[in-house]
């Protein structure tokens, strides 16, 4: 039976048994057998995260340490700047920043989080890209850094307005952390790395924990009545409402950070005229996009009706034209808005807020409006 064989080849996170015991509906995702939802269902899980606190298993993501051979973290930062268009040198100890690995065409190989842990950099990368990312780091940075794949760690995200109170019971430093603070902390006596970040638009935390302690930590958090386990289904609708890119969908090797509307993530020091301008793969094309603009852009899209407009739907300038102008890269129903939301690429000339375009859904043209993102206001503690 092929279905069975596929399941057998899937990897499991340290929380697999817990997911099954909680009634998680397990599905293949990025090579792992992961919970898409629990008995409460995607809608309730989504709304619970927005109103209380949701616990997510993100252990399938890759965790890496970049240790400078010189012993100076700035050397690891300078080395990593050869692979990403972000200012890594400026990340202060105890801080984290969003970045992208780029290719020589200016496209995005993966997006990642980079934290400065004082003596080394801590990286979190996407599950589907982690082997390639590690090889990429080894091929390019091995002269300057020891690249340590932290296979023995799990990653738990706790997201929502009650995440701080729930985690503060286990880690006294948590209330004093602000958005994008990151560092080693003891949580319930366990040697964790905690960052005040996440991918839902809510205030929250990501907690890297030794794999052997992961289930204990997750169970301790779930003992709090405010905390509910959340599956991949709600994780996806939450990040879509937050207007955040999903790698392989909204960004990929054929989109530059400028086309993806991620200019905010590229600091001035790396742009034309900056102190360390360029020097990353695809810099010529990406800096040209900064200087002259790109021809297309990722935008948020809102529909008038209730029919979700999903990934792959073609976009048109009007109700009758035959040539598509772009397509939807993420789309679905936003439970917090009780309405469909989508993101897609359109020509810059049609990217202004309020522009009306059309999506083709089952042979019909549905009117859409280019809308501001995030669709749901984020609540980060800055």
């Amino acid at each position: 039976m092929s279905v069975r064989d596929d399941k057998d080849s899937l990897k499991r996170t340290p929380l697999y048994d817990l997911h099954v015991s909680l009634g998680g509906k397990m599905v293949p995702f990025a090579g792992y057998d992961m919970p898409v939802q629990y008995p409460a269902g995607v809608l309730k899980e989504h709304l619970h995260t927005r109103s209380s606190a949701g616990l997510f298993d993100v252990s399938h993501m890759g965790q890496l340490a970049l240790r400078p051979k010189s012993g100076k973290v700035e050397d690891a930062a300078r080395a990593l700047e050869r692979l990403v268009p972000q200012d890594i040198v400026a990340i202060a100890p105890g801080r984290q920043r969003y970045a992208q690995f780029t290719n020589t065409d200016g496209g995005i190989l993966d997006d990642l989080m980079v934290a400065n842990f004082g003596d080394h950099l801590f990286l979190v990368v996407n599950a589907a890209c982690k082997a390639e990312d590690e090889a990429h780091l080894r091929a390019n940075l091995s002269d300057d850094c020891v690249i340590d794949s932290l296979e023995g760690r799990a990653l738990i995200a706790l997201q929502g307005p009650k995440a701080e109170a729930a985690l503060a019971k286990l880690c006294a430093e948590v209330p004093s952390m602000t958005f994008m603070d990151a560092g080693p902390h003891k949580v319930a006596g366990l040697a964790c790395f905690v960052s005040r970040s996440g991918y839902t638009g809510e205030d929250g935390f990501e907690i890297s924990v030794p794999a052997g302690d992961a289930e204990r930590l997750a169970k301790t958090l779930l003992e709090n009545p405010d905390v509910m386990p959340i599956g991949l289904g709600a994780r996806d609708s939450l990040r879509l409402e937050a207007g955040l890119c999903l790698y392989g969908h909204d960004i990929d090797t054929a989109t530059t950070p400028v086309e993806a509307a991620l200019e905010w993530s590229v600091q001035k020091s790396r742009r034309s005229g900056g102190a360390r301008a360029g020097g990353f793969p695809g810099a010529e094309k990406i800096l040209a996009h900064f200087d002259n603009g790109a021809s297309r852009r990722r935008v948020g899209l809102r529909a008038e009706g209730r029919a979700p407009v999903r990934e792959g739907a073609l976009l048109f300038a009007d109700a009758t034209s035959s040539e598509p102008i772009g397509k939807v890269t993420s789309g679905g129903f936003g439970p917090s808005l009780n309405a469909p939301v989508a993101m897609g690429y359109v020509p810059v000339t049609q990217s202004a807020l309020g522009t009306q375009i059309f999506a083709e859904v089952r042979g019909q043209r549905l009117p859409l409006t280019v809308a501001a993102m995030p669709f749901v206001k984020n609540t980060y503690k800055r």
Partner: protein
């Protein structure tokens, strides 16, 4: 007298004379999860058996609903437009999708009764 039959694709149809009321089964809604939108066929449309007649959208995915039998669409359930979650709460009651005038009763032959459908989803 009403007889309820089932398809292997998880539609139910309640037959009353030459009119059938069509919906999706409770088993189907439990597999789909939270329903957020239902697209129904136009009244007057002539459906062929097994043709895509309606679409159920859950938070995650869109699923086709097939005509369990050929015939003309007589009426659709307007309540579903405002309250698609009825499909989750009362799939085989208030959340009917459409009524169809049965074109050929011999097509009913291949459908399952409740016991057979229960065995099919067991």
């Amino acid at each position: 007298m009403t007889t309820t039959l089932y398809t292997s694709d998880h539609e139910w149809l309640a037959i009353d004379g030459d009119v059938a009321t069509v919906g999706i089964t409770d088993y189907a809604q439990s597999q789909l999860g939270d329903v957020v939108f239902v697209e129904l066929p136009k009244v007057g449309r002539a459906l062929k058996k097994a043709e895509a007649a309606a679409v159920v959208e859950s938070v995650k995915a869109a699923s086709d609903v097939y005509a369990p039998i050929s015939g003309e669409v007589l009426e659709t359930n307007a309540e579903l437009a405002g309250e698609p979650a009825l499909v989750n709460s009362d799939a085989q009651g208030k959340a009917w999708f459409f009524k169809i005038k049965i074109a050929d009763k011999s097509e009913l032959g291949g459908l399952m009764d409740e016991a057979a459908y229960k065995a099919h989803t067991a």
